[in-house]
Amino acid sequence: METGPFVSAIALRDAIGRRELSAEVAVRQALDRIAEHDPSLHAFLTVDADHAIARARQLDAAPGAAGPLHGVPVALKDNIHVSGMRTTAGSRILDEYVAPYDATVVERLERAGAIVVGKTNLDEFAMGSSTEHSAFGPSRHPVDRERTPGGSSGGSAVAVAAGMTPLALGSDTGGSVRQPAALCGVVGLKPTYGRVSRYGLVAFASSLDQISPLATTVADAALALDVIAGPDPRDATAADRPAGRFLDALTGDVRGLRVGVPRHLLETGVDPDVLKTFENSLETIAGLGARIDDIELPHSRFAIPVYYLVATAEASSNLARYDGVRYGLREDASTIGEMYDRTRSRGFGAEVKRRLMLGTYVLSAGYYDAYYLKAQQVRTLIQRDFERAFAQVEAIALPTSPTAAFKLGERTADPIQMYLADIFTVGASLAGLPAISVPCGTTNSRLPVGLQLIGQAWDEATVLRLGGAYEATRAT
């Protein structure tokens, strides 16, 4: 599809700073673009034009105090709370829920001058890799409407890829930002676990969830992380580390950097076009003066089973709160037990029920040791593999997804096939590591492919520097 109105968030902010356009004009461009393309793409669940325009006018009326995202329209995955706006989490059980407070990331975005234009579509409670598990229908791929944009942050990826907003936030639990970013041809950056506060994010799997930016450029993703990162007294898992200056990491110089490639993971199950594109990107990176080394991640073959046991166990606990008592849907019944059962059965979709069943099973008496405990032990082994690899290299490269965008309906009948979409992303999630997906070309059918770069804990700077240097070679 043709290019949208925004080159990048930074270019837009600078143009507003030079008074080439007002924040209100920028917001209206975003709203026009949404009105034109969203009926066929379904990236958004809520668009709040009045809120966005009022906010833009406020910014235009208060010159001088320009923040780093001054006037930039942003879209938020609909599991991030904005006070007074609906948060559905893609679920019927929260269909009419209006958030009574702002997520920490929303406070920080708004303080930086960003303008929230709306909330984007997702798989229900972020459980899925295609947005097909949204209670409100799937989003569609901007290049081919018969395909999925990936997920679970598919709506945010489509919003950025289709030029509706230059920047969006999603949440990444096992790949839910990196995979749709790769499939849609945009940048997705999952920070180190604990880098960004989860306060105001609807919980799915609390030891894995991280709010993550999606952008058209690596620099925009770095700037967005600068804005949202840092400690927060309202989330004890948000690390007590000052937010960095990630934008300063983009020096373009990667000479001597050692990049590890776990080739043993690429032997089967990777689409040939994806593999070729990935190999080309490695050659480009070598051409920039970085060194490509083989590494081993021997326990990676266990990553998907570990992920689905840990994430579903945590989800079964987190989603116990949806009981029809304090908020959300309630189905009437004569006793409280029946009310719980009916509310949850009517409110949750099939994939959420499937995962709650699995998570409940693996935590239940007699099965805990064999499944959950075993998975958490193998998780330690996966983490140690990464530690060993990072003694040799500073970054690890893998395709973000083993395939390009797949067809709607192709995998919904087979949960395990859908889970395998995350095969290259769950490892970094389980180990808490930062990882970025950068566009690296297209398949023969013109579908985007993403290059994933994984860094050491707290070292977003290296993957941003490498991703930025790689991106610059493609801009010609």
């Binding site: 407070y101 690390a239 009437d332 193998v378 983490q383 949960p415």
Partner: protein, 98 residues
């Protein structure tokens, strides 16, 4: 080795998860959960003798804050979200418990 799951086990898990499943859901989940459990059995091949379980990826990163009181959400705002509430009394209302 393929995992199997009985209908009774599926009903027992559903009760623990507070879900009331239809006959169609019981049939589908019995099959799919068995498939998933078979798939995750690969984990048994990993030697985890003496390996500690990960409870938190970065246990050294615990953030501390001062233990001071601060206002929380306003009661009326919270009760406004409830499907049923006695707002004046500050109570959620639910069907009979006993």
């Amino acid at each position: 080795m393929a995992s199997t799951l009985t209908r009774d086990e599926v009903l027992r898990i559903a009760a623990l998860a507070r879900l009331e499943l239809s006959e169609a859901e019981i049939a589908t989940f019995t099959r799919q959960l068995a498939d998933i459990l078979t798939y995750v059995e690969a984990l048994q091949q990993a030697d985890t003798t003496g390996i500690p379980a990960t409870s938190h990826v970065f246990t050294t990163e615990t953030a501390w804050r001062d233990d001071t009181s601060a206002p929380s959400l306003d009661r009326a705002t919270v009760l406004a979200e409830a499907p049923d509430a006695e707002v004046a009394a500050g109570l959620f209302r639910v069907p009979k418990v006993l």
